[in-house]
């Protein structure tokens, strides 16, 4: 366990780096990738709650990502809500859907849970594709209003520029990260871990696993909705693609490859999957072949993920000391 002081120092260094990085490299292309990286961070942080802290594999995260994107886009364009309000509204919508699906699906475990989440995601995708009046169907939803920061009568600032959007999402990532970090280190978070490690034991001392799992699931889906909304107002055009299996697969890979149930893992995974596609940009579809092979290799050779591997190398000790891992998780 690093002492509190060194841990905090590490966090400040990362924050300063995150603030300065886009200033140092004045390149719109880089900024674009950085924003995608941030959105992926949100997605990975979100799914990490389910996979890492509840210990279930969800194959339907695209449902919440897509719902967040569509809800914020429709609310801001059709209803005319300012984007600063439509994003939180989308987050709440995702949370409500998450409560509904989680309440039903979390009675099941393992493969049954995975299939149920996948089925729900397919239903959401079919609704988005077929409800043409609302979503314009496969054509996609275009001209989504940009984020506008305004103070009536004082100023109005359109966040269109990649650099500005980068800082906006950075704030979101920071907020979500500290929320999840504090949650995991709160009594509730400890309860999540207790349930993941020893459900019968947790139950025996009066913890309700189901209620805690639903709570974790709802928090996770709200973050996924936030990621979707951030995506919608960045690209300002979305199609039912945001509901495709791809957006369920990518966060799962990020979490598994990065290291499930760790703090650093989701960020590493997000970094990997934001940068790798760019390196393989010219490769087209074969990218996905590389990714999936990479995922397969990772779960064969590093089943705990890169973060745990790095930790183990750094601390020069065996990664399988689960008490230490739990403490830093």
């Amino acid at each position: 366990m690093p002492t509190g002081e060194t841990k905090h120092r590490g966090r400040w260094i990362l924050l300063i780096l995150a603030l300065l990085l886009p200033m140092i490299f004045q390149d719109p292309y880089l900024w674009h990738i950085l924003v995608i990286f941030e959105i992926y961070c949100l997605l990975a942080l979100s799914l990490n709650i389910i996979v890492g802290y509840i210990g279930e594999v969800s194959l339907g995260h695209a449902a919440f990502f897509g719902l967040g994107a569509y809800a914020s886009a429709i609310l801001s364009k059709n209803v005319g809500l300012p984007v600063l309000l439509s994003i939180p509204a989308a987050v709440i919508f995702s949370g409500i859907l998450g409560l509904f699906i989680g309440y039903l699906a979390l009675r099941l475990k393992g493969p049954y849970f995975a299939i149920t989440t996948l089925a729900f995601a397919e239903i959401i995708r079919l609704i988005v594709t077929n409800w043409v009046d609302l979503t314009r169907g496969p054509l996609g939803f275009t001209q989504i209003p940009p984020l506008v920061l305004s103070f009536p009568g004082w100023f109005e600032f359109k966040v269109i520029h990649e650099l500005h959007y980068y800082y906006f999402v950075l704030v979101l990532v920071g907020l979500v990260f500290s929320l999840i970090y504090n949650l995991i280190h709160s009594p509730t978070g400890r309860t999540f871990l207790a349930i993941r490690e020893q459900e019968p034991l947790a139950r025996s001392i009066g913890i309700s696993p189901f209620r805690h799992k639903v709570l974790a699931f709802v928090i996770s889906t709200m973050v996924a909705g936030l990621a979707g909304a951030a995506y919608a107002h960045f690209f300002r055009i979305i199609s039912p693609d945001v509901n495709m299996v791809y957006y369920s697969a990518i966060p799962l890979m990020m979490v598994m490859v990065g290291g499930r149930g760790t703090i650093l893992g989701p960020f590493l995974g997000a970094l990997l999957f934001a940068v790798l596609p760019e390196l393989f940009r010219t490769a087209g579809t074969i990218r996905m072949v590389f990714f999936a092979s990479f995922l397969l290799a990772c779960i064969v050779y590093m089943p705990e993920g890169i973060a745990v591997k790095i930790q183990a190398i750094l601390k020069d000790r065996v990664a399988k000391k689960s008490p230490a891992q739990l403490g830093s998780a």
């Binding site: 594999v57 493969p111 996948l118 089925a119 079919l126 077929n130 697969a249 799962l252 996905m288 397969l296």
Partner: protein
């Protein structure tokens, strides 16, 4: 007013599609019953069956039946490799990981096929495209072929599992792995052959069903979801359940497509899946044996 002719056509279509679903689902359910692995890549073997048949039938000009037979054999070979790479490493260490490893394998296969053949839908021609006049309705010969081979395949599989020695070994392993290993059954071999048999059935379904519509790389994804619905509907690890489930799903979809709207028929399938999982998780005929 219900139009009787339309009803009969929809029922026949539902039955035929249901047989396709059954063929796919039996493989899924066998692998789950024997290895306790939910194979997310199962649909890709359906897709591979169709594509390999396309290569031999359309590109190399072999007759449909021969191309189909080659396809089924090759897909079973691929399944050996698949089992070796993405299932076996996890069987002893962490069986839950197979959820992810088969998912990864599915992505690999699907995208590989898309890299090779692109994403324009392809056509697989069949010599059995002539309509046949049955007493009540007219069906293409291909649909009748699906019906015949499907029913025959299911019966043969049932007899194989029930009466042959290998079949008995498979059933014993499904019931109790440790005890089977103790009496000298080579479990790894059983795993390999269960996979081969399951994927072979999926490939048969692919070869048979593909000529009814188009071939595209992601066709397996839709099929594996249908397979899950059927398997859950019938009860995981139950072969009779998979047959019943396939018929129920096929008929429901045909009715929904005929009388509600074809755009929403898939939603109905998934809704059934979720309802069954929530209210009768053991499925319609769920028992823990095969």
């Amino acid at each position: 007013m219900i139009n009787i002719d339309l009803l009969i056509i929809q029922l026949a279509n539902g039955l035929i599609i249901g047989i396709g679903y059954t063929l796919v689902a039996i493989g899924l359910t066998m692998v789950f019953g024997i290895l306790n692995v939910l194979n997310f890549a199962h649909g890709e073997f359906f897709m591979l069956g169709a594509f390999v048949a396309y290569v031999f039938g359309e590109l190399l000009g072999l007759p449909y039946v021969i191309a189909g037979a080659i396809a089924i054999g090759l897909v079973m070979l691929v399944s050996f490799l698949f089992e070796l790479i993405s299932v076996r490493p996890f069987m002893e260490r962490d069986p839950e990981m197979t959820l992810l490893s088969t998912f990864a394998a599915s992505l690999i296969l699907m995208n590989l096929v898309e890299v090779i053949w692109g994403n324009t839908p392809l056509l697989l021609n069949t010599p059995f495209s002539k309509p046949v006049d049955l007493l009540f309705l007219v069906l293409t010969a291909q649909r009748i072929l699906i019906l015949l081979i499907g029913v025959l395949g299911v019966i043969l599989l049932g007899l194989f599992l029930k009466f042959t020695k290998t079949g008995k070994v498979i059933r014993a392993t499904a019931q109790n792995k440790k005890a089977s290993a103790l009496v000298g059954i080579n479990i790894k071999k059983v795993y390999r052959w269960s996979f081969a048999a399951g994927t072979g059935l999926a490939a048969i379904a692919g070869v048979l069903i593909a000529p009814l519509s188009n071939l595209y790389a992601s066709m397996g994804q839709g099929m594996v979801l249908k397979g899950f619905i059927v398997v859950i509907l019938g009860g995981l690890a139950s072969v009779p359940g998979a047959i019943l489930g396939g018929m129920v799903l096929g008929l429901t979809e045909a009715m929904a497509a005929g009388y509600v709207s074809s755009a929403w028929k898939d939603v109905i399938g998934f809704s059934i899946l979720i309802l069954i999982l929530l209210f009768r998780p053991q499925g319609l005929m769920g028992k823990k044996e095969i």
